[in-house]
């Protein structure tokens, strides 16, 4: 029938269309399949791995720190921690904790905390019960393991400083990672809970070397994060051990000698730059920090007006006072403003410009006519006012710069201050006023705007003592088993005879009758100490206080009494070591700082016999 064949035709043609339609759609499917499984395969493989692989870090063992003679001063102690996995306690978490409480000391608060944590977290995650178990407690837990399902002991390492406050400032301490520490750093190790990093001192300066590299474990996890198996593990790298130049015995001795004084002392080898001792008093116990310091302890340390947390050796900035006179002398000699034998008359006071207030010498009666060597020995201020005026500030500051004044010494510690070496341009910029002659004269006796740290003073003295080698100080002898090589120091261009004159003068300060430190003289196996005293008016570290101008002595409260300084070297004839001692509010340097310094040097001379060029200290 016609209709039928029409119908037939329609059916056939439409079936054909239908087949085409399906073919197109299937092709779309195939294309998409190809796209996903071939073209994007690696991307999805990566995402699939990201899903299932969880990388855990194994914290590295921190490097140890040793003193000069191989004594361990920063160690890693075992810290036993007991934890529990809730789902392994067969639903009897509370009973298990109570059983544990019979073996070790467990407070109700601890148990409550564990129960709360257990509810909050997934049941297969470990919850810490208690840290710092004693060996006995740990053993008890292990022995009773069958009665404590789900409980297990982990060993952690925590830092300890067996010598406590003796090397606190040099060593620093480690403590928990803070928000500040994380800023800008992407190291995943820092995210490990409970990880500690160096916060101050050498622990902070050499953090990277001491830390080592974390190992990794790749774990396969399912969608809820439960570990299914370990895929592989990579060992990390133990941190580097550090061997310091510090002598622990000398350090202890100095602390004893410092007693209740507030201040600092530093002893340095003038040939190598090794720091044998660096003491800042009062000190603190760095062990307080390693497990997280208590708020009360922290506040006590912060508010203590003697600033125990400060390393005064590198961050205490003082006017050097008379200890600066050698620099002035050298500058004057070089610029020929004065000759070594030329005498200047000290009447006890002087007025440089008509009508201005007279400046005094510490010896009110005056020294009479005096030449350079005696001027240093007896610390005549008038002499130095005069030659400073003659030499001019520019030459003095230029000379000072050669000896490291106004620059950080580059010691391997954080927080070193650079002191202040004032220049014309500096004053014009900072104070918007021109340099005055009065400023120059003040520099002459090491006052005025001048600021130095005890370490800078030591470096200055060392460079005088070693005839002008621009030595730099350091604390590290060996690192990771290898000795550290330091570059050869450059030579300062000052004549050897000028240096000799300084040596002689400084010898006289301590060993001649009229020397300001005569009462502190000492002889060890025929060897003597040379040096220079300094008494300085107190300056606070901040610059703002300078704007108020010089403060009159009489107006000062007792805590702003003068500081006592001494800087020197020994043996005087064949110098090896330099020392600086600063006693804050010590009053007269000769009576306080000098004796401490010479006692320290006695110890040094006793311990370290004279060495010829070939002998090296152990």
């Amino acid at each position: 029938m016609i209709r039928d064949s029409d119908r037939q035709k329609v059916f056939q043609s439409r079936l054909f269309l239908l087949v085409i339609f399906q073919a197109v759609l299937f092709t779309v499917l195939l294309c998409r399949l190809y796209y996903l499984q071939v073209m994007q395969a690696s991307k999805y493989q990566r995402l699939a791995d990201k899903n299932r692989i969880s990388t855990r870090l194994i914290p590295p063992v921190r490097g140890l720190i040793y003193d000069r003679y191989g004594r361990q001063i920063a160690v890693n102690m075992q810290n036993f921690r007991v934890s529990v996995i809730a789902e392994q306690t067969s639903g009897r978490l509370l009973q298990t904790l109570q059983t544990l409480g019979q073996l070790i000391v467990l407070s109700d608060a601890d148990i409550q905390r564990v129960l709360i944590d257990a509810k909050r977290h997934k049941s297969f995650l470990p919850i810490m019960i208690k840290e710092n178990l004693t060996w006995e407690e740990m053993a008890l837990v292990q022995l009773n393991a069958p009665d404590l399902p789900g409980v297990f002991v982990e060993e952690d390492l925590s830092r300890q400083y067996p010598y406590m406050d003796i090397l606190a400032h040099v060593m620093g301490y480690v403590s928990f990672v803070s928000e500040n520490d994380l800023r800008g750093k992407s190291d995943a190790v820092l995210e490990i809970p409970g990880f500690k990093i160096g916060k101050s001192g050498l622990e902070a300066f050499y953090e990277k070397a001491l830390r080592g590299i974390a190992g990794t474990r790749n774990l396969e996890v399912n969608v809820v994060g439960r570990v299914v198996r370990e895929i592989d593990a990579q060992d990390g790298l133990r941190g580097e051990d550090l061997h310091l130049t510090i002598d622990l015995d000398l350090q202890k001795h100095i602390i004893e000698l410092m007693g209740t004084h507030t201040g600092s002392a530093v002893v340095m080898d003038i040939e190598t730059g090794d720091i044998l001792a660096m003491v800042s008093a009062p000190s603190f116990d760095p062990n307080l920090f390693t497990q997280g310091i208590l708020v009360d302890d922290w506040n006590a340390l912060l508010t203590d007006e003697k600033a125990p947390l400060n390393n005064k050796v590198i961050s205490g900035q003082y006017s050097p006072g008379s200890t600066f006179k050698m620099i002035v002398a050298l500058a004057a000699l070089e610029s020929k403003a004065v000759t070594r034998d030329e005498k200047v008359t000290c009447h006890g006071s002087i007025s440089f410009t008509r009508g201005s207030r007279p400046l005094h010498c510490w010896k009110r009666a005056g020294h009479g006519p005096i030449a350079m060597k005696e001027a240093i020995e007896e610390s005549c201020d008038i002499y130095f006012y005069e030659i400073a005026r003659r030499t001019g500030v520019d030459k003095i500051t230029e000379m000072a710069r050669r000896f490291g004044v106004g620059e950080p010494t580059g010691i391997d510690l954080l927080g070193e201050r650079s002191g202040l070496l004032p220049t014309r341009r500096w004053k014009e910029f900072f104070y918007q006023s021109p340099w005055m002659q009065g400023d120059t004269i003040n520099i002459g006796i090491g006052q005025g705007y001048l600021l130095m740290t005890p370490l800078q003073l030591t470096v200055m003295t060392a460079r005088i003592a070693n005839f002008g080698k621009a030595i730099k100080p350091h604390l590290l002898k060996k690192r990771g088993g290898e000795s550290v090589v330091y570059p050869e120091p450059e030579q300062i261009s000052v004549s050897k005879s000028d240096f000799k004159l300084m040596h002689d003068a400084m010898y006289g300060v301590v060993n001649h009758v009229k020397g300001t430190a005569y009462n502190s003289r000492t002889v060890v196996r025929g060897k003597r100490v040379a040096g220079k005293t300094g008494t300085t008016q107190v300056r606070t570290i901040s610059m703002q206080e300078r704007e108020a101008g010089l403060i009159k002595q009489e107006d000062l409260p007792w805590r702003l009494r003068d500081h006592a300084l001494f800087t020197g070297f020994a043996p005087a004839e064949n110098p090896k070591y330099a020392i600086t001692v600063v006693i804050e509010h010590g009053g007269g340097a000769a009576t306080i700082a000098a004796p401490v310094a010479t006692s320290i040097m006695t110890e040094v001379l006793l311990k370290y016999p004279e060495r010829d060029k070939t002998e090296v200290l152990p």
Partner: protein, 388 residues
């Protein structure tokens, strides 16, 4: 073929014995079904983390029941089916209404009737009943009827009623598939194409209104489809993980039982809607293409049946049911690959699920039935008439 030769080659049903019918069964078709089922069990086994329980051990008996159903349906006289097309349809419709009032809610939809022994999903029944009744109508109609809009009103209503009820459940996926399968039958019956265009355009225009009526989760699904990353841990998780699973299979797959995504539970719904991804992850593109090839064979067979059948009832039924299968395959795989929004549509013979399995086997039974009875003359008005 002339009318004469047609009549001489035909056999009436009373001529066909049981054995006759058996001999006319397309065993190739059965083989493909068995193969697909076997693949299904294998993939399900892997998706259950190498365990028979609980999915494989339940799927196998259901499949066997399905096989039995298939054979029963195959053997029934096709004219019997045609005669009962309307009753079956209306029963299904009543059940759908029943679900609306007494239905059990599960997964946010009211789809099931609890019959103590098993859960009955009337929408599944309607999947069979609707093509059946439409094929019946268009078998009796002529081409000019198909071109008459007036004539089309009645079949359209037959579609609209269950459509409305299913949409209310709400079961957007099944509703859409109903519309597509029915549209195919309309198409094959000769309805003018411009009418389809009209419906299509008005459908598009009504989208904003439809959007308004969508449930939040449905809206979510569409939005997530357009940008899975917008809710990567929530609604977008399925699709993102599905793509990761698929893609990471690569060309050769990760190996049987070695699919990390599925075994570590990163892929949700891996036994049901997303089962294809498990296969794709473990057998790679090679395996996926093989599976697709099997489905293509299955569908081609169905359409071949349609061409070789002498009566229009069989033809329409065959095309309608085959396209039904096609749409299920296409939409499931597209969904899994992120080409269409997530609608809960199972993959035939592979996904875990009892009701859809039985319905499928019913479908296969019907298709075999058409094939067996392809030469049986069915009258226009009365099925049992021996002339066309």
């Amino acid at each position: 073929m002339t009318l004469r030769s047609r009549i001489s080659s035909r056999r009436s049903s009373s001529d066909m014995t049981f054995i006759d019918k058996l001999s006319r069964v397309s065993w190739g078709y059965v083989f493909i079904i068995l193969l697909l089922a076997a693949i299904g069990f294998t993939v399900l086994f892997s998706a259950s983390n190498s365990s028979m329980d609980p999915y494989v051990s339940r799927q196998i008996p259901r499949f066997l029941v399905g096989l039995a159903v298939m054979f029963v349906v195959m053997m029934v006289d096709i004219r019997f089916l045609m005669k009962f097309a309307f009753p079956v349809y209306f029963s299904a419709l009543i059940l759908l209404v029943a679900v609306h009032f007494f239905g059990q809610t599960g997964m946010g939809a009211q789809r099931w009737l609890n019959l103590k022994f098993f859960l009955l999903q009337p929408s599944e029944l309607m999947r069979i009943a609707l093509p059946l009744v439409l094929a019946r109508i268009f078998h009796s109609a002529s081409l000019s009827d198909s071109k008459s809009s007036l004539f089309l009103i009645f079949p359209a209503c037959l579609i609209a009623a269950p459509l409305f009820l299913v949409l209310k459940q709400p079961d957007l996926g099944t509703a859409l598939l109903m519309v597509f399968s029915s549209a195919v039958i309309f198409f094959m019956a000769g309805v003018q194409i411009w009418k389809f265009a009209l419906v299509g355009i008005s459908g598009l225009l009504s989208l904003p209104i439809v959007w308004h009526f969508l449930h939040d989760y449905q809206k979510n699904r569409v939005l997530t489809f357009l940008d899975p990353e917008r809710d990567p841990l929530g609604a977008g998780y399925h699709i993102i993980q599905s793509k990761i699973t698929l893609g990471s299979g690569g060309v050769f797959g990760k190996g049987f039982l070695k699919g990390t995504q599925s075994h570590l539970n990163f892929l949700p719904e891996k036994h049901t809607d997303f089962i294809f991804t498990v296969l794709a992850e473990e057998w790679g593109m090679m395996g996926s293409v093989c599976l697709l090839a099997l489905y293509v064979l299955l569908i081609a067979y169905g359409l071949w049946i349609a061409t070789r059948t002498t009566h229009y009832f069989g033809r329409f039924l065959a095309v309608g049911l085959t396209m039904n299968i096609f749409f299920y395959v296409f939409i499931n795989i597209s969904m899994v690959m992120g080409l269409v929004p997530v609608v809960g549509v199972p993959l035939p013979l592979i996904s875990y699920g009892g009701t859809s399995l039985v319905t499928l086997m019913l479908t296969f039974g019907l298709l075999q039935n058409v094939w067996i009875h392809r030469d049986v003359p069915i009258g226009r008005k009365n099925p049992y008439d021996d002339f066309i």
